[in-house]
């Protein structure tokens, strides 16, 4: 029984990680074809960085993810605080609508955003991408921050006010530090969502602003190039670092 459960576990992890390991290994493969091993090499990394369009797309994606995550964290945090703190007409509707955005198929969101942008006459590019990415990141931030606020002691803001803090000072010195881990978690979530979004981006991006996921997508349509393996490895390292940073922040805030 024991070996059975162990090998089952091993199988699950094998299926999860084999593709990733293959990708990493083959990114160092000297051979031009992706099926046989031709010795260790960094040539695909080299050609990746010499590919100007690719590097530009990478920077575009990074900048887009950074700004989209920041904007959605700011709006989302304010929304969450309002939903948590105040009682107002239409609060339930507002809350429910966030879930609608989160649960609705991405393709629906993509089509409707494209329709909206065309209607408004907005030129497709960075701005349209940013608006779209903020839209689908927002509910995730709101929900993360709301979860943190649910465990928030209502007496804390009162204690701060009681000790002489204005509402603004209380927010700065008590509320924000307490929900900081949720803000960071929400930001990281938004960043990752934005970084690897294909569906919505396909619809709302224009030729003036090419982003990484779309670039990769168009590259593999004409055949798997070893360069993509190198790029995938870099992205993997990047997400691992981000994950470690977020874990470190969380563990520090718990102390």
């Amino acid at each position: 029984m024991r070996w059975l459960s162990r090998s089952y576990l091993a199988l699950v992890y094998l299926l999860l990680y084999v593709p990733i390991v293959v990708l990493v290994v083959f990114s160092f493969n000297d051979s031009r074809t992706g099926y046989n091993w031709g010795g260790l090499s960094l040539r695909w990394y080299e050609s990746l960085f010499n590919n100007h369009a690719m590097v530009q797309a990478m920077w575009n994606s990074l900048w887009l993810a950074l700004t989209a995550a920041t904007v959605s964290t700011m709006i989302g945090a304010l929304t969450a605080v309002a939903l948590h703190r105040y009682r107002f007409r239409g609060k339930r509707v507002l809350n429910g609508m966030l879930f609608v955005v989160m649960m609705s198929p991405e393709i629906v969101l993509a089509i409707s955003l494209l329709g909206l942008f065309l209607l408004l006459g907005l030129k497709l590019g960075y701005v349209s991408l940013l608006l779209a990415h903020v839209t689908f990141c927002l509910p995730f931030v709101v929900i993360t921050v709301l979860a943190r606020l649910a465990g928030f002691d209502e007496r804390l803001p009162e204690a701060a006010r009681d000790l002489g803090a204005s509402d603004f000072t209380m927010t700065r010195t008590v509320l924000i530090p307490v929900i900081m881990p949720a803000l960071m978690a929400g930001w990281l979530l938004g960043f990752t969502l934005s970084m690897d979004d294909v569906v919505v981006s396909t619809f709302v991006s224009g030729p003036s602003y090419e982003i990484l996921p779309l670039r990769i997508y168009s590259m593999v349509r004409v055949g798997l190039k070893p360069e993509v393996n190198a790029l995938g490895t870099l992205l993997l390292v990047f997400s691992l670092v981000m994950l470690m940073v977020s874990q470190w922040i969380l563990s520090r805030s718990k102390q």
Binding site: R155, A159, R161, L163, A165, V174
Partner: protein, 378 residues
């Protein structure tokens, strides 16, 4: 000497159509330890929050040292609160928690350090300044909350059931501690509790609240020994309610029939007429349990005994089925003093230790009415 510090007049408050405070008026003197006592939902916490500024009254005014502060924001009131679950800022050290209020006043750094250290020394937490709140025990967190509130030298300290989260022993220690602090600081304390024992042992005055009305306002002694109504008598301490019937009314004295015993009692402050029924109140410690062959008292039998260490508490069932609680101190001369269940005894009390209450619905007499009643009897 008894300068009024804070006064509430005609305070009413409703939450979702439910009246929490109803036309309530109260004045608090400078330097006193006053306790708001009542069951949950009586409005005591709302009243305290109104003093702090977290709730605004629907009607009525709050004045502090003569100035109207009814609409003043909490941050501008020179009062500080110790919250029920301490409400410490978990992301700050103990030092920063205590320093928070002084930082808000923009005090110079050196002064902040000095005053925070002084406040922490006062609650014996000098060595814990660098810790975070979650690294402290419940009692220590409580002390930090107190230090944080008193460091601003408020005119008044509001304490919202500050000891309810502590265990019994720690609660006793903190009660003594709080009294000491109040003496040393000379600040007015407004203390909210539902624990009548705590209220009796700590307060200069007690406000007994129920359904948003003040039931009684008096010293612990007054509230315990001379409760104003049945609610106060039941809520504060344990009480035996004996049914009495007036058999004779004279100037200053009345005769009351209790369980067939005819007792001569001094006349109470409310209107008494012949054959009226009233409550004769006796605390368990006022009850005398006598031997079955005694000539005095009412016959009964022990149905419950409870050894309490310093006292022996028993419940005696009288022949008419009513129960009497008695609490007796151990007699040094009689080491075998004890009862067994079912033992036959007689129950009595010392004349003058009883307290009379009209049956509910009867209003206490005003002075004029009392004079009129006296005249009618002559």
């Amino acid at each position: 000497m008894n300068r009024t510090l804070l006064s509430l007049s005609g305070i009413s408050k409703q939450f979702d159509g439910k009246t929490v405070l109803d036309e309530l008026s109260l004045t608090i003197d400078d330097g006193e330890f006053i306790t708001l006592l009542g069951p949950s939902g009586c409005g005591k916490t709302t009243l305290l929050r109104m003093m702090a500024g977290f709730e605004l009254p629907d009607r009525g005014t709050v004045t502090l040292s003569g100035a109207d502060i009814t609409q003043t924001l909490p941050e501008h009131r020179p009062l500080n609160t110790v919250f029920q679950n301490y409400a410490l800022f978990s992301h700050m050290s103990v030092f920063d928690n205590v320093a928070y209020g002084l930082k808000m006043e923009k005090r110079p750094k050196a002064e902040i350090r000095e005053r925070v250290e002084e406040a922490l020394a006062m609650v014996q937490l000098e060595d814990f300044a660098r810790r975070k709140p979650h690294q402290l025990s419940g009692g220590q967190q409580q002390r930090v909350a107190i230090a944080r509130a008193v460091v601003k030298r408020p005119k008044m300290l509001l304490l919202d059931e500050p000891l309810s989260a502590l265990d019994y022993k720690l609660r006793r220690t903190m009660q003594v501690e709080l009294k000491r602090l109040q003496r040393e600081l000379g600040i007015t304390f407004v203390f909210v509790t539902h624990d009548q024992e705590e209220a009796l042992s700590m307060s200069d005055r007690i406000v007994v609240l129920k359904d948003g009305h003040i039931q009684q306002l008096g010293t612990p002694r007054e509230v315990y020994e001379r409760p104003a109504n049945v609610f106060t008598a039941r809520f504060v301490g344990q009480t035996n309610f004996f049914p009495g019937r007036v058999t004779r009314v004279e100037d200053g004295r009345i005769s009351v029939d209790v369980f067939g015993l005819n007792r001569e009692l001094s006349k109470p402050s409310f209107r008494v007429v012949m054959n009226q029924t009233l409550h004769v109140l006796l605390r368990p410690e006022d009850i005398r349990v006598l031997a079955p062959d005694d000539t005095e008292g009412v016959a009964g039998k022990i149905v419950e005994r409870n050894y309490k260490g310093s006292t022996l508490d028993s419940v005696i069932e009288l022949e008419d089925g009513s129960h009497v609680m008695a609490s007796e101190f151990f007699d040094e001369d009689d080491p075998t003093f004890d009862y067994s269940i079912g033992e036959r005894v007689r129950v009595s009390w010392v004349d003058g230790w009883e307290w009379l209450l009209a049956e509910e619905g009867d209003e206490p007499l005003t002075d004029e009415e009392e004079l009129a009643a006296d005249d009618a009897e002559h």
